[in-house]
């Protein structure tokens, strides 16, 4: 189910809240789990079986790791088995077809006969809930978290529908205490409502129209330079408002249920270097990669060379985590290179001495280049797009027509508004959580929600980019 749909807003959410707040406290986690399975199974009911199986398995590994008489060797073995099984599932569903297709291409190059490939459907959100389970068991092993009180609590944590399919990636230790006991206050529910409305507005009013512009240009064969730049700008706005909007909605829903989630975005396009970008963009993923991959690899403790290698490995795997495609790998490599370079210069970008607006501008330009790698269908399409941005493409006269699709009054208003919002400092999360609720805010939010709903009625273009990851 998608948050910005008729069925979620008008049926699932009211029914869920109605039952949730009328149940005795002890039954609420059970209801969360059940409702989350319905929410998840709405895409494809058999996905629930897979999630149920991995939940049972990870709960079992957790028990093995924390068994009172477990020896260190047995605990290590249980953790290794947990990591292996989770990564096997993830590898099979997410990377099997990519690997097999790549191998087939190599075979073809070598003149050998390619083999048949099993078609595998990628279960939505598998990367997110696999990371939830993995971090749980790693934290147990490290002694950073206590085992879940019951299978029900653990199932509720894994399946929790607000963050289930597109994050933010929540660690068990953050939610453990709240799963056992959380406060449902008026203020928390109200702030959750406010963040949800802001996220909903970002998605409907900004991400979707910007996405149409991006699609129109990226799907064209030979865009002109000016159109190509507008296309990638539109994509930058789409992916930010789409993902940040989804994260806001997730945080908002979590707060309605009494959970405190951390913010996942902190004005990333105001960053002054790529190092800063990764402190502000998809914060939950960056911190998971740092704590569960970069540090175990040695972080920066093993000398400069290993630091660069570790950064490169983390960013490559971060790229691959987004999807099984060569361009995601290239996107990770691009960021890894820039991060390595900035690390070499003492966490300073090469433009670190420029005035602040220039630093922000150059970082944004670098981000735009990385989004080309991220958005293009494949690497050769990305290279063609770069050529178009540089004005080196040979244009077909038909490319002129895209102007009629993208330079419409509505698109121009949306892009200007979106660009204005991403470069201003006030973030939805801070605006709501750090300040008390006021009549003025209510007077802004309710019309915004009504207007967003009205626009939702008229939209047929409503993809969520991060679901594919």
């Amino acid at each position: 189910m998608v948050f910005t749909t008729h069925i979620f807003i008008f049926y699932f959410l009211p029914l869920f809240l109605l039952v949730y707040f009328n149940l005795p406290y002890t039954w609420r986690n059970c209801w969360i789990t059940l409702a989350s399975y319905v929410f998840y199974g709405w895409w494809e009911p058999w996905f629930v079986c897979l999630m149920l199986f991995t939940t049972l398995m990870d709960f079992f590994w957790g028990r093995m790791i924390t068994a009172p008489r477990a020896t260190p060797a047995r605990r290590k073995l249980a953790l290794a088995a947990c990591v292996a099984t989770n990564l096997s599932f993830l590898g099979f569903f997410k990377y099997y077809m990519f690997s097999a297709e790549s191998l087939n291409r190599l075979l073809e190059l070598a003149g050998a006969e390619p083999f048949s490939i099993l078609k595998v459907t990628l279960p939505i959100g598998i990367s997110f809930y696999t990371f939830h389970s993995l971090t749980y068991n790693i934290d147990l092993y490290r002694g950073h978290a206590r085992p879940a009180r019951s299978l029900l609590d653990f199932s509720a944590f894994v399946a929790l529908f607000p963050d289930l399919v597109a994050g933010p990636i929540i660690r068990y230790k953050t939610l453990a205490a709240q799963l056992a006991c959380r406060e449902h206050t008026l203020s928390r529910f109200a702030s959750g409502t406010a963040i949800f409305i802001l996220g909903f507005g970002k998605k409907i009013l900004l991400a979707n129209p910007a996405g149409q512009v991006a699609d129109a240009v990226f799907n064209s064969a030979h865009p002109y330079a000016v159109d190509a730049w507008l296309g990638v700008l539109a994509y930058a706005l789409q992916i930010y408002f789409d993902f940040c909007g989804y994260s806001d909605m997730a945080v908002g829903l979590g707060r309605m249920l009494g959970f405190e989630y951390l913010k996942n975005f902190d004005a990333p396009y105001r960053s002054e270097s790529i190092t800063e970008v990764w402190r502000r963009w998809h914060i939950s993923l960056s911190s998971v990669l740092r704590d569960y991959l970069y540090y175990p690899l040695g972080g920066n403790r093993l000398g400069p060379f290993r630091t660069y290698v570790n950064l490169a490995v983390v960013m490559l795997l971060g790229g691959l985590w987004h999807g099984a495609k060569w361009n995601f790998l290239a996107w990770g490599a691009f960021h890894g290179l820039l991060l390595g370079y900035e690390r070499w210069r003492g966490k300073q970008s090469f433009y670190g001495r420029f005035p602040r607006p220039l630093r922000i501008g150059i970082t944004f330009l670098l981000m735009l280049c990385s989004w080309v790698l991220f958005r293009a269908d494949n690497l050769s399409a990305a290279m063609a797009y770069f050529k178009a941005m540089a004005g080196l493409q040979i244009h077909a006269p038909a490319s002129l027509l895209v102007a009629a699709e993208i330079y419409t009054p509505l698109n121009i208003v949306v892009l200007i508004l979106g660009a204005g919002l991403v470069f201003q400092p006030i973030q939805a999360h801070d605006w709501v959580v750090a300040r008390p609720q006021s009549w003025g805010r209510t007077a802004c939010l309710i019309p915004l929600f009504v207007f967003s709903l009205l626009v939702m009625f008229s939209q047929s273009f409503n993809p969520f980019l991060y679901f594919q990851f």
Partner: protein
């Protein structure tokens, strides 16, 4: 005294909950009052399968009173304040509208066709592009017809933006036509020995000659009667060049029959007030009559979209889409009005705009011979052949099949160009 922030929190929560709850509650009450089944409870009778759930969700949304009543108002508002014409329609210059897929066809590359969904295993094969898939499909049809001794003539119809790029955007203001990817398909077909008619060059030349040239309607995806007539003459010339001779000649008569019609794009936009903003177009049609039978239109009892001239006189069969249907066959009454009632068939008359004035009739007139036709709106790639396979007797006595389709259909690739077997001929 209560904390003012608590009061505003309560107000926010109450209003938020009221909004999200009011829609299902009102919908349920409405359905109860109307004595209808309560729509949302269908989920309990729905088999938990992805496709069933998608269907349930779509129905719930489409049948929602709020959705039905507010969507047009929002679309109207977005059009008024931001000139937004929705996902299907692109606004051009001088009051011209364009169908977005027509523009996308010219803009997008010829993509590799994705493998079909059948089977659990994919055997890697050299990538076949959409155009190559269509080419193969046409080759297969040529083979099926050849087995019956019938020749195939392929006629892709240019989309409006390929002929009028200068009306799409100021940027293309100097262009009187655009090369189309469909011309590459024509070249491939010609190389394979399949007969074709190149309407692209014809229309571009016509525009070069006459400048404006009313070949397409301003607010419709289709050609004008003049465009249809020009195309019919070019096809007739090609048919004659292929050595075809009529089994009997008919001296068709033509009379002017102006109609006023609403463009199909005005309805596709689904924006109230869109029709009023753009208005009706007056179209100068020329109605073709058979001296013995009158208009060349199917009888009400015939299969929809199928026209069979009585007797064996018609040795040509046209397969086509709405480009063949427009001005020729009955249309929804809401599309416009004929200036003068043209036939003594009251229930039919109001639907003919004006009838027997389209591509089929002009082709018949140019060849002085009747032409049978199987026509399906938007279905020239597969649906017409499906109709043909269930009504294959229409092929008896035919020497040429003319296959007209809109160029944008090439973009649907193998998935849209299904392999439809033809029943074996009785006397091959």
């Amino acid at each position: 005294m209560a904390n003012p922030s608590h009061k505003s929190e309560k107000a926010l929560i109450t209003l938020f909950l009221a909004i999200i709850c009011s829609v299902p509650v009102c919908q349920t009450l409405l359905e109860l009052c109307r004595g209808e089944r309560i729509q949302f409870t269908d989920v309990f009778h729905t088999f938990p399968k992805a496709s069933e759930l998608r269907q349930y969700e779509a129905t719930l949304k489409e049948k929602s009173w709020v959705q039905q009543n507010l969507r047009p108002a929002v679309q109207s508002l977005l059009f008024e304040i931001a000139r937004d014409s929705g996902p299907k329609v692109v606004q051009g210059l001088q009051g011209w509208l364009f169908y977005r897929p027509d523009i996308r066809f010219l803009l997008e590359p010829d993509r590799v066709d994705l493998p079909g969904n059948e089977g659990a295993w994919i055997k890697p094969s050299p990538g076949v592009t959409q155009r190559e898939s269509v080419f193969r499909s046409i080759e297969r049809v040529r083979g099926q017809l050849q087995a019956r001794g019938i020749r195939l003539l392929v006629v892709p119809v240019p989309g409006k933006p390929a002929v009028y790029p200068d009306r799409v955007t100021r940027r293309a203001g100097n262009l009187k036509g655009l090369p189309s990817p469909a011309q590459n398909l024509l070249a491939d077909l010609q190389k394979a020995g399949i007969e074709t008619v190149d309407l692209f060059t014809l229309f571009h030349q016509e525009r070069q000659k006459t400048g404006g040239a009313d070949l397409y309607l301003a607010t419709d995806t289709h050609w004008t009667p003049r465009g249809a007539q020009l195309a019919a003459r070019a096809v007739a010339a090609k048919v004659l060049a292929m050595g075809w001779k009529p089994s009997q000649t008919v001296a068709f008569e033509s009379t002017p029959a102006p109609v006023k019609r609403w463009g199909d794009l005005l309805d596709m936009a689904q924006i109230p007030g869109f029709r009023q903003a753009f208005g009706m177009e007056t179209v100068a049609c020329e109605q073709i009559r058979d001296p013995a039978l009158g208009l060349l239109i199917p009888a009400p009892s015939d299969r929809p979209g199928t026209y069979k001239y009585p007797g064996p006189a018609a040795t040509l069969l046209l397969l086509g889409d709405s480009f063949s249907r427009i001005y020729q066959y009955p249309e929804p009454p809401s599309l416009g009005e004929a200036a003068e009632p043209s036939e003594n068939r009251p229930e039919q008359t109001k639907r003919l705009l004006p009838g027997s004035a389209g591509f089929v009739s002009h082709l018949a007139q140019a060849l002085k011979s009747p032409v049978d036709a199987v026509v399906s709106d938007g279905g020239a790639a597969t649906d017409v052949r499906r109709k043909l396979s269930t009504h294959a007797e229409i092929l008896e006595g035919k020497s040429i099949v003319i296959w007209e389709f809109a160029e944008r259909d090439i973009h649907i690739g193998a998935a849209g160009w299904e392999d439809i077997p033809l029943p074996a001929p009785v006397n091959p």
